[in-house]
Symmetry: C2
Subunit: 355 residues, 2 copies
C-alpha cells in the first residue's frame, strides 16, 4: 500500500485525492491545505486528515471548527510519495522539503520542466519515470496533445503538428480571473510555449502552437492539424484509431454535444464525480483528412484530465506496475471511458451496415 500525501488541495489536489483513494494499492495519508474555506470543510467531511502550513494557519482552522492533524512537514514525513498540487511556482519552492525527507514527489505542469528529471504522460512515456525520484505531470493542454500525438505517431508517423489552443480564462471558482469580454492572444508571440512543453514528452516531435484565452471557465478547445508521414486510407481509419484509445472520447454526431457546456452537462448526467471529463473529447465529425493533413477539434477539461496521469505517475515512480497495467487499473477504478457512446457507436454502425 503506497502512502500518498497531497500538498495543495485546490482544483487538482482535491480531485487527485479522491482518485488516489479509489486505488486498491494506495491510500491518502492526508492533504496540505492553507485556509479553512469550503474546500477544507469538504475535505474534512470526506475524511481526509488536514495538514496546515504552520501554527498561525492552524488557528484559523480552529476558529472555523475544522480539525487539523498536523503540519505539512509531518505529512511529508509520513508519506511514501508526495503529490505537489500547489499553485504554479510553489512546487519548485517545495522541492527542498521533499528532498529533506527523502520522499519522492510529483509536480504539476505549472512548474518549469526543470523541477523534475522527467516530464510525464502515462500513454507516451510511462517507463521513463521508472528510475526517477521526481516527475512532473505535464499540464492539461500538454496532456491532451500527448494523448492525440501518441497513437498517430505510432500508426502513421508525424511530420509536424500545428495546433491552436483556445484556452478557458479561469476555473469556475476563480472569480477574479479574466478575460470577461475579450479574445486574448496569449501569448501574442508565436509559437507559444505549449509546443516546447509537448517536446518535453516527445523530444523528436516537430510541433508549433498558438495560444488564445477566451471568457469561459469550462474547458479548453484545441483546433489541431497533424501532417502525417503516411496517408491513411480514409477518415474512418483515424476515427477508429482514436475510438480505440481509452482516454479519448469520440463525441458522436447524433448526440448533440455541440459545445463544452453540453459535454459537462453530459458528464454530470453520467454521474461523474464533479462532472469531470478525464478523457480528451474529440468531436468525431471534426476528424477530417486532406491528403496527409489531418484536422480535428478536441475539448480538454482543465480541472481533471491530469488526474489519472497523477495516479499512474505514482506507480511509475514506485515501479510496481507497468504502464499498461497501471492505466488499466486507473481506468477501471475511476470509470474512465464513456463506454455508453462507444458501444452504441458500434451498434449503430452495425445497423447501418445491415440496412
Amino acid at each position: 500500500m503506497i502512502r500518498v500525501g497531497i500538498n495543495g488541495y485546490g482544483t487538482i489536489g482535491k480531485r487527485v485525492a479522491d482518485a488516489v483513494r479509489a486505488q486498491p494499492d494506495m491510500e491518502v495519508c492526508g492533504v496540505g491545505k492553507v485556509r479553512p474555506d469550503y474546500v477544507a470543510v469538504n475535505a474534512a467531511e470526506a475524511g481526509y486528515p488536514l495538514y496546515a502550513i504552520d501554527g498561525e494557519y492552524a488557528a484559523q482552522f480552529h476558529e472555523a471548527a475544522i480539525e487539523v492533524a498536523g503540519t505539512v512537514d509531518e505529512l511529508v514525513a509520513e508519506s511514501d510519495v508526495m503529490i505537489d498540487a500547489t499553485p504554479a511556482g510553489i512546487g519548485a519552492e517545495n522541492r527542498p522539503l521533499y528532498e529533506r525527507h527523502d520522499t519522492p514527489a510529483l509536480f504539476q505542469g505549472g512548474e518549469d520542466a526543470t523541477v523534475a528529471e522527467v516530464s510525464f504522460n502515462s500513454r507516451a512515456n510511462f517507463e521513463e519515470a521508472a528510475d526517477a525520484d521526481y516527475a512532473r505531470v505535464v499540464s492539461c493542454n500538454t496532456t491532451g496533445l500527448s494523448r492525440l500525438v501518441a497513437p498517430l505517431s505510432e500508426t502513421c508517423g508525424i511530420e509536424k503538428v500545428r495546433a491552436t489552443l483556445v484556452r478557458r480564462g479561469g476555473d469556475p471558482d476563480q472569480t477574479s480571473r479574466g478575460p470577461i469580454n475579450d479574445v486574448l492572444p496569449d501569448p501574442v508571440t508565436i509559437p507559444s510555449h505549449h509546443g516546447p512543453d509537448v517536446q518535453t514528452v516527445f523530444p523528436e516531435l516537430s510541433v508549433e502552437t498558438i495560444g488564445l484565452t477566451v471568457p469561459t471557465t469550462m474547458m479548453h478547445v484545441h483546433a489541431v492539424n497533424v501532417t502525417l508521414e503516411s496517408e491513411p486510407d480514409d477518415e474512418a481509419e483515424i476515427r477508429d484509431l482514436l475510438a480505440a484509445e481509452d482516454r479519448i472520447l469520440l463525441i458522436p454526431g447524433y448526440a448533440n454535444m455541440d459545445g463544452t457546456g453540453a459535454l459537462k452537462d453530459m458528464a454530470l448526467d453520467a454521474g461523474r464525480p464533479r462532472g469531470d471529463i478525464w478523457e480528451n473529447a474529440v468531436w468525431e465529425e471534426s476528424v477530417t483528412l486532406s491528403g496527409r493533413d489531418l484536422y480535428c477539434l478536441q475539448a480538454i477539461h482543465q480541472e481533471s484530465d491530469v488526474v489519472p496521469e497523477n495516479v499512474d505517475a505514482v506507480r511509475a515512480l514506485t515501479g510496481h506496475l507497468s504502464g499498461a497495467e497501471s492505466r488499466a487499473l486507473t481506468n477501471e477504478t475511476l470509470g474512465i471511458g464513456f463506454e455508453r457512446f462507444q458501444t452504441r457507436r458500434e451498434q449503430a454502425a452495425d445497423r447501418t451496415a445491415a440496412d
Copy 2:
C-alpha cells in the same frame, strides 16, 4: 407505490426522475423524450424506459441504437401521476392528454398559472394542492422567493417585498441563448411578472420585482429587500431564523464562497448529483437590518431548486402524507441541507462564546 411518469426529460425532467426514483413511496414508470441525444443515452443507461412521441421519432432512436418502450400516450396510461417537464407552453398543450387518461399531473413554472388549479410551493401552501388534480410547481425564482417569504411572514409579518432578480441567461448546455455580453432589463417594464407569480402562492403579499438578465449560466442571484411589520431584535435573530429553514443554506463568511461559481464548485465537492443546489443559498454576511428594512442576497440554482418541490407536489396531489412529512422524507432521501456548514456554524459560535 405511486407510479410517476415524466414527460420531458431535459434540465428539470432528468433531475426530477432521479429524485422520484430515490423516494420509497414512488417509482418512475418511464420518461418521455423527443430526440436520441446524449440525454437520451444517459436516460437509457440509468435504466429509465424511454417513451417517444410517435413512430417517426422512434425511428431516430433506433438508428442511434437506443431502445424505446412505447409512446408518451402509453406512458400516461401506465402512470398514477404525470410530471410534465416539457418546455414552457407545451405543458398547457399536453393537459388534454392527461385529462383524457384521467391522470393527475404537475406542470412547471414556465406555464401560465391558469394551467392548473393551484400554484404550488411546498413550504408555503402544500395543503392547498390536496384536492387538486392539476398543480403547477412555481418557477425557480418564485420558489426561491417563496422560501424566503414564508418564515419572515410567519415571524415578523411582511409589509412589502422588493426584489431585483439578476437572472442567468441560459443553462450550461444552451449554446444559443444570450446575452453574451450585456445586462438586459428583462422585462424593461416594472414591476416584472415575477411579483405577481409570487402572489399566486401568497395572494395577500405586497411584492414588486425587477428583472435583469446577465451573461452567466450558473445561478440566478436575488437582491432582496423585505420591509417587515415588526422590527426584529437584531440581525442575528433573522440569521438564526433563516438557518433553521431546511431549504435555505446560510453561506458562512469564512468559507470563501464569494460567487455562484464557488457555490457550484462546493456542491460538486460535496458529491451532490450534477452539483445541484436544491436550497436557496443566502450569503449570511449580506443579511442586514435597517430598522424594519431587511436586506439580503441569495443565489438560486435554476436547474434544481424546484426538484424537491415536484417530489412534494406528487404527494400533495395523492394526499397520503402531510406537507411536513413529505418535506422531511424528500430532504432525507435527497440529502437536502448542507449540515456540514450548519454544524460548524454552531460550533464556531460556541468557540467564539468560550473565548
